[in-house]
Subunit: 338 residues, 2 copies
């Protein structure tokens, strides 16, 4: 620590010398993943004639949790949004809104996570911005990451999904939400149920290495709104029913227990490292194998299929073949999970 104070002050956000010291601290902590040049814009080479672009703000409560923090989530969220479009994530921006009084130790912890996750995902932080608000005008810190990726393959689109396609899930659902709620509510589950927060782009690359591009119709990272929101989005877009085999859903035992205790459904839970892939059923075994070969996809499995049945429903089929309709949630009242 070479900054003159141990806590963020309003003056760190006002553009004068203290602001400069804060920017230096950020750049130094981000290390080699930060390629900003202190100009107003970064000038960056692009490959191809199309880019992917996305943005996400992060207001995670609590910002520090068992196996991650808001910095890790902020990189993963934007990397994953780019990667599921078929792009190779390359450049990230980093916007910080800091509450006065935040300690430099906490900021350093977040920036270290940003650095390590960016390294893992092989992306660069190309520019940043920092604002400071008065105590009580934010809850510790909020982040925004926006990202640009390149298309080394044809972009994926929702509209490519068709009846008969398999629905593949890359890993267990519910863990991120249960982990955070357990910390918030003091339930004690957080050491047994970890957040799934992870950058998925390299795992997605391994899927494309295993099967032809056309076999993968579309994919989504399963975040806010949970798997239910993703399935309803696709069913609604196609006007066809999607059937899910309940017993095939990967849900960790402790997660199911905790969700039950909390009165929440893992299908509605936010995740931060889980992928839903809509694919040619003939390619599904190879896709599942490719996912399972990656540390973030060990529990990958086919969970259902797109049917030819008209109507935008999501149908749950239990082990005995009984069907029920999964209703879309109007609200979830589980704020600030990402």
């Amino acid at each position: 620590m070479t900054v003159a104070t141990q806590h963020i002050q309003l003056d760190h956000g006002t553009g004068a010398v203290l602001s400069g010291e804060l920017v230096d601290f950020i750049a130094r902590t981000l290390g080699d993943v930060y390629v900003g040049e202190m100009e107003d814009s970064a000038v960056l080479p692009v490959e191809g004639d199309r880019i992917a672009m996305t943005t996400d703000s992060f207001v995670v409560d609590p910002p520090f949790f068992g196996n991650g923090d808001i910095g890790k989530i902020a990189v993963c969220g934007t990397v994953n949004d780019l990667a599921v479009s078929g792009a190779v994530p390359r450049y990230l921006t980093l916007g910080l809104i800091l509450e006065a009084g935040l300690s430099f130790d906490q900021l350093e912890r977040v920036l270290t996570s940003v650095r390590e996750t960016a390294r893992e995902a092989r992306v660069q932080i190309v520019c940043g911005d920092t604002k400071v608000v008065r105590a009580g005008e934010a809850d510790q810190l909020y982040l925004n990451t926006s990202g640009v990726g390149f298309f080394l393959r044809e972009p994926l689109r929702m509209d490519a999904v068709r009846p008969g396609d398999a629905v593949i899930l890359s890993g267990p659902i519910g863990n991120h939400t249960v982990h955070l709620l357990s910390i918030r509510e003091g339930l004690g589950f957080e050491s047994r149920v970890l957040s799934d927060c992870a950058p998925l782009n390299l795992m997605i690359d391994s899927v494309f290495a295993a099967v032809p591009r056309e076999a993968v119709r579309s994919m989504r990272d399963v975040t806010r709104g949970g798997l239910s929101a993703v399935l309803h989005e696709y069913a609604g877009r196609m006007g066809k029913a999607i059937t899910i085999h309940e017993q095939s859903l990967p849900i960790q035992h402790e997660t199911a227990m905790a969700a039950d205790m909390l009165g929440i459904n893992p299908l509605n839970c936010a995740n931060e490292g889980c992928l839903a892939i809509f694919a040619d059923p003939a390619a599904a075994p190879d896709i599942v194998a490719a996912l399972r070969g990656h540390e973030y996809g060990r529990h990958a499995t086919v969970i259902g299929e797109v049917t030819g049945r008209d109507g935008a429903a999501v149908v749950l089929r239990d082990a005995d073949g009984r069907e029920s309709t999964l209703q879309p949630l109007r609200g979830a009242e589980l704020p600030r999970l990402c």
Copy 2:
């Protein structure tokens, strides 16, 4: 208004049906400047083999002011950061952090400003993100815009500035800060001193149409930290003194009066539509003429020059030729002006 409630609720941020309604409302209000496709990433054509990329978060207090609001500032800030690098701003992302309880009317007002300013600046909003935090966890709303621009000309760099270069200012300083502080403090100046908030990219285009690219060494929009911060940044980078002619500084009379009353120096005030251009002195008259031909540059003028004198000082010269050194501000204690 076709949303089921008049105020933002936590559930508008949780990814379920209410989130979808909010996103629809945002897309509808943004109208034709919004080209998002409700995929996780936008897929966008690029021109050339380099892009400019920048990010800015906005925490303006108050978010609504006399001749603008946080939405207008959010578009101008990012458009201007791209344009001063020599890029043509093209794509903007829009991240919203909303405090529960914010009215849809207020949100609509902000989004309408985003739309109108994006139209004026000829940029598109290509994707967005919305988070809702509990009442007391933000102050109404915070925005982030990140942007991508194309280089139809060679990028501008600080390092191109050299001794002898003229320093040109496109318009009066201090107005944005005085306008906002007058509202905050109830001073009654706000109707006589308006914010200068404006997208400067088309005015910058007119400068490049008037003089050869090489005549313009580098430019900055004069925002947080004020003209003082910009001049100190350049002087520090070059290790040369910059001399400013005090009597040539464009400062509106009411602004000087209000600044005096508030105990602040217009040189340290944040602006939102003011440009500092470092240029070949031979081209300075044509640049000033080009600026004055544009509504945001009517008061453009040469304010000083880069000297050959060693040392990173900013020197103020008064009408009698007396010189004093402008000290960089350590902090300004004027938070949330942008």
